[in-house]
Amino acid sequence: MRLTLAQREALWALVFLAVPLAFFLYFRILPAFQALWLSLYEWHADPSQRRFVGLEHYARLLEDPLLRRALWNTLLYTLLGVPGQIALGLIIALLLQRAPFGRDLFRAIYFAPYVTPAVAVAWVWSWMLSPHFGLVNELLALLGIPPQPFLQSPSQALPTVTWVVVWQNLGFQVVLFLAGLESIPRQYYEAARIDGAEGWRLFRHITWPLLNPVLVFSVVIGTIGYLQLFTQVVNLNFTDQGGPLNSTLTLALYIYQLAFLRFQLGYAAAVTVLLFALILLITLVQLRLLTRRVEL
């Protein structure tokens, strides 16, 4: 039997895609459905003793004070962190554009924390933020500010963790914004200057709208990142994970604690479904926003 050219091509495609496709089906798509399935069961290591509980876990979600706390904290992290890193990132990118020299060096310095292992970052900051022997309080003392508890205070811990995450993500934002700024044609600014526009108005009417796609991307990627916050939270308060008084607990950490410290895998799976729904929602909003491109 002779194969047509099209058949030959399809056959090759099948061979090339066999391993990747099997991988995605077995390790990505099947587990996603298994998580859904698990959320309907009371977990037991022995498969025959896994008890079907229907939507019980979801009912429990509604009245779980710790989950409410984790959800609320995660929202706070996002509301503080995303605008924070975007504003700082934009300011630094704009400054870099104006710097007469040293651009590449500065960009590298701001980017370095982004590639650094989050675990190491968390430990260094928790050492610097230590209330008694920390460098940060020592520096604050030079300015006449009394020592702060930072990570050990229920009211200061969450903003402190957010600061560390922003510090680490900043370089990523800077690089994105720099690329976005560079893609705006010079002529737009020149034309606007001829019309007498300066400073803030240039930013408001040219830079900001043309940066919109990058901004939307940053908001969405940033939000998804904060929704999954885990490593820094765990390591910044290692002895009291999610503490003090659950003030830094996140959804991802709560999932980890439920599943792998208390082995309530079924209930933990229900919480992951909630997290998935949140991420899906954001992705859909992103698609809407990105397809509504800015007209010139």
Binding site: A13, F24, L30, L38, L135, L176, F238, F260, A269
Partner: protein, 273 residues
């Protein structure tokens, strides 16, 4: 106008200098602390009075550090090789070959990007427990072997190439795999570099899954190793900082060598993706 420009330039430079000192300070403080003997920790001098290599000696020879380093190196290298090969092969196929169901498969792969890792780790754990993958290298490796993001990235790149090149290869009698390997791959080298570096760093820094799948100290990867070691070391901040320095330095070295590719990679994903 000119004077004003120079003034704003100078001001920008000053602010950037201030900001970057805030970025550098934690690294500096980490390295300085790592050279301090224990009693000096609580004196809060900037430079160590009696700098010592002792902390490094303890971390390197009296903890599992070298093993963790090796584990991370092995896991990150193998996943990177696998990702580079399979992601580019799948990207090539989805970009350049015609076959029924192509778009469906592409959408299927892309849709997995929306599923958060937290949702997958629970079934992965159950699967690993049932198949005996807990605490094995395969257990550490399998989730990262192929990535949807990489397939997407490579597909975009292969699509941007002219069809003539591939036709010429087929005319010359190359097999379909030969066309991919000999003609396609060399042309997408910049994309491969960016994908490779990101995959390596991502796996080198990974924390959540290795923390779950590893049970004995010997199988820990570097991030898990330092996290748990630090938890055990308690207030021995000089040791913790030495371990952190040793974990951070190779990453920073990679970064300074491949800076251009890394930054292009970020731009690629965010602005042009």
């Amino acid at each position: 106008m000119r004077v004003q420009n120079r003034l704003t330039g100078f001001l920008a430079l000053l602010l950037l200098l201030l900001g970057s000192s805030l970025m550098v300070l934690p690294f500096l403080w980490m390295v300085l602390t790592s050279f301090k003997p224990f009693p000096e920790l609580f004196e809060l001098r900037f430079f160590p009075r009696e700098p010592t290599w002792e902390n490094y000696r303890v971390v390197l020879w009296e903890t599992g550090f070298l093993r963790w380093f090796g584990n991370s190196l092995l896991v990150a290298s193998l996943t990177t090789l696998s990702v580079l090969f399979f992601d580019s092969l799948a990207g090539y196929t989805l970009a350049r070959l015609r076959f029924p169901g192509k778009n469906l498969i592409f959408v299927l792969i892309l849709s997995t990007l929306m599923v958060p890792t937290e949702m997958l780790v629970i079934p992965w754990y159950v699967m690993s427990a049932e198949k005996g993958w807990i605490n094995t290298y395969w257990g550490l490796l399998f989730p990262g072997l192929i990535t949807a993001f990489g397939v997407f990235l490579m597909r975009q790149f292969f699509e941007s190439l002219p069809q003539d090149l591939f036709d010429a290869g087929r005319m010359d009698g190359l097999s379909e795999f030969g066309v991919f390997w000999r003609i396609g791959l060399p042309l997408v080298r910049p994309a491969l570099a960016a994908l490779g570096i990101f995959t390596f760093l991502g796996n080198w820094n990974a924390f959540l899954w290795p923390l779950i799948v590893v049970q004995t100290p010997e199988m820990r990867t570097l991030p898990v190793g330092i996290a748990l070691f630090s938890g055990e070391a308690g207030t021995a901040w000089n040791l913790i900082m030495a371990a952190s320095s040793l974990a951070v330095l190779p990453v920073l070295l990679v970064f300074f060598f491949f800076q251009r590719q890394i930054i292009e990679g970020v731009v690629l994903t965010g602005v042009k993706g």
